[in-house]
Symmetry: none
Subunit: 311 residues, 2 copies
Amino acid sequence: MRRDNGNVSTNAEANVQHPLTGFELKAVLRESARDKTIFLHGKVSSGSENCNDAVIILEKTPFQMDTVSSLLKNDPELKLQLKNDIYGVYHLSPSPELNEIKTTVICPASEKHIKKYLQQEVYVIHETEDDYKAITLPYIESQSFSIQWVYNILEKKAEAERIVYENPDPTNGFVLIPDFKWNQKQVEDLYLIAICHQRGIRSLRDLTVDHLPLLKNILEEGKEAILKRYSIHGNKLRIYLHYQPSYYHLHVHFTVLGHDAPGSSVERAHLLCDVIQNIESNPQYYKTRTLTFALREDEALLKKFKELRDI
Amino acid sequence: MRRDNGNVSTNAEANVQHPLTGFELKAVLRESARDKTIFLHGKVSSGSENCNDAVIILEKTPFQMDTVSSLLKNDPELKLQLKNDIYGVYHLSPSPELNEIKTTVICPASEKHIKKYLQQEVYVIHETEDDYKAITLPYIESQSFSIQWVYNILEKKAEAERIVYENPDPTNGFVLIPDFKWNQKQVEDLYLIAICHQRGIRSLRDLTVDHLPLLKNILEEGKEAILKRYSIHGNKLRIYLHYQPSYYHLHVHFTVLGHDAPGSSVERAHLLCDVIQNIESNPQYYKTRTLTFALREDEALLKKFKELRDI
């Protein structure tokens, strides 16, 4: 089926209209400088009159081992950008066939397609102890976001067969389970979550010396269980909490170093070993300190901060 | 001085030897399909006979808002990959000037440079106060990695015209300059470095209350300078130090949220606002605490830890 499509379209290329005929840029929906991708909303006249909105996704292609030499041989054209000591930076203009751009065209594109790729602005928030009490805590208590799915896991009403390890202690125990983002097919992007049995620990902000036994169980037993099941040693793991978390029942993330899992960056992740150390040296650490995190434009909590603080 | 270099190299491109003359690929050191980067070890005949090893870093450049339209107008050449319903995937061959490759040449490259870019296993290290004194500090003091290029910048012997902002105070001043990783063409991957004028502050470990004025200057003046020059507000910035840093002269990283810059993950980055807060609440914080970071297999510091500790 897939091959048929390919053939039909390939043969047809000559006679059918160019997919970008009359292209006109309407908006840049999203852009990733790291991934070298850009998501565009454009108009093309190749669609039928009333539906020529298009989403166009451009992605620079990865380098290929077998052609990379050809880029550099025979004194290619280089524009000098800067020179300092042994370091030189240039811009190289490669021949097109060695430097293609993957181009995905969605046409006609619906409002939904366009929204799906639209970027959200992100803001840094510095949440003081008072901000937490006045803004974040009331927001958490008011929000209707159900965590029934978490309780279902803890009560074995769902995903029971996915559980990798459990310490059943109601106060200091937890369940270790693969994260949905991980397909469990390769350990290169291993991602598990430890969910504590004890209820009512919303986040980092609630943690005190009382929780040290729980936190240490998660750290030590979690590493052991992952070594046993996946043969990945604890010294290869990034073990951390999120603040803000995506749901307010205490859980800990286990991912492998070398895979930069989403949410592992410094403005959201807090290493469990640091959390334990901070509480041991100052029992009030997470109650009193200013915590910094990022919020997206469309997040309800950001709206609350904007109402009550100068963001 | 730097400008002279620039002119010489630019004008001279015809007469001086091409930096890649006689290029010969020896090994692919590392490759990232996500980042569209590749790190090569090659030989070039442009260096002097006995030192023509080179590390060459190729990186596809991010898309630019102002030129992206030109890639798609006037029916560019497209090779169809697949067509299914409203989705079409093509390979586009752009004209070279619209699709440059950033090319960094390090020549002559030492064993150390080549190792630095070689793909390696990664290990988590928990460095106690004693580990720092017994292992890391002696390592730093023994290592020969030159930071002449840093002094060149501080003394305006190189890159003087790239300086975005300077506070010239020898104790509490710094220079703000775009990082090599940023081509300065779009703010989506904005990346600047603040390098302090004061010498001898190796890293986070050396920071005390004496450095609070310097750190606060970098935080506040850095944000102002970036707002003025690039119209990016401070609440869109991730401002952090690395531990371990890649060179032991105190510097601070400024990157934009939404762009997950390499080195911004929790096992390496420390938010400047947290560093200030930690020192204010405990002047001995960075001297005494256990700091966690990741080291690659071939890093000399890891070898030292393996010799003296159970990793």
